[in-house]
Symmetry: C2
Subunit: 254 residues, 2 copies
Amino acid sequence: MSAGKHLSKGSTIPELPDDGMLRLYSMRFCPYSHRVHLVLDAKKIPYHAIFIDVSDKPEWLTDLNPLGKVPALQLVKETGQPALVESLIISEYLDEKYPENRLFPKDPLKKAQDKILIERFNPVIGAMYKMFVSPEVVPGAITNLSTGLDIFEDELQKRGSAYFGGDKPGMLDYMIWPWCERSEMLKCLLGNKYEMDKERFNNLLKWRDLMIEDEAVKCFYLDGETHAKFMKTRREGNPNYNMLVNPSKRQRTC
Amino acid sequence: MSAGKHLSKGSTIPELPDDGMLRLYSMRFCPYSHRVHLVLDAKKIPYHAIFIDVSDKPEWLTDLNPLGKVPALQLVKETGQPALVESLIISEYLDEKYPENRLFPKDPLKKAQDKILIERFNPVIGAMYKMFVSPEVVPGAITNLSTGLDIFEDELQKRGSAYFGGDKPGMLDYMIWPWCERSEMLKCLLGNKYEMDKERFNNLLKWRDLMIEDEAVKCFYLDGETHAKFMKTRREGNPNYNMLVNPSKRQRTC
């Protein structure tokens, strides 16, 4: 999936068929929106994606989605066509409402433990974010990133399965994937200053290779070079959301 | 419920009967721990509360609860006696594991909407926290608090019920209650500088009066004067966690 044009202030509201399909307000490079795309694709739930210029939001957005946030999932078949926000809340809603290919474990304890791990991924997100947006290597960020990832390497080792979800990706796999996919851009952004230690992250690197082949991941996958290209426009203060509207040929690795 | 002594560094691990009961690591004045006490009490789940001096944690804490966080719920009947952390994750786990007196709505949409409201309470928590810990009135904090509470006043009006959960308190009621209970201490801390507008918050004030009479709320209730007394010790840099171990007679309002 590439991306439609990101709609901005002054745009007209997109005309969508009255087909009752879910509507996801998204931004093509937003990792939190990415989570919801993954869940929808993993469950094969059809939906319309409406891409939003988050730096210059359309006026009509708050009529459909009062908080004006992205990601937001509008439920057009429900009374009042409510919109849900927050990637984790939307993802858990989808898992409860559409039980096909259940992503969270059924067991309340295992589910709670996976949720705690999703929370414990936040320091990894924080460290990566610093490395993505800063043109210089932020002191301590690589150490923080590696320490954060150790928890996930150990967990995968402990579980002894290919994925956190077992023999197929589950909610934990999909909730952390957007940042793992984006970690590939560090090679482009930092040159040789960052490479994942193949021994220290043996399980996680095998997991990453498998995840890239997952059908849901493939639907929304972008290579490190493309993510880096967007990030460079963002670092320059002029994020090019529409970079993929007429995509040029892209390499998978950079 | 008052409180046992808060255990600190150098303390011995408390001897608890091998009765399979849940063990909640808590701090008597921590609003996040308060959430879990409320859920346990609302569901009438028996548990042991172990109070922790969070400024000087016991060495043995991380053996039982590797993250050393409070609140933590240790499940002694489960293999490996795992401990869950994060008040919202623990509360949802309890609601799934112990379906008696279900607190979240069964409907996935209504449940997601209540979770979004719990998230939307965070600015209220932020504004209150500033007012609790600062000896001076922080500019803008009263406005931010009132604007944040407007959402909940409107929601209660829209739902047309006594509680957010309907005719009895539900998860949303209990998740926001710890800060609503503590709002009473603002009168003591700020003198006449803060009083909730009776017209603007008509529904919320009625709700508060009802909540104070709820059985689960009563189990762990402290009046505004007591909360303020603890907060003053905290402001002075020497929080008196054990203030209630030999409680003196307390007034309900100050």
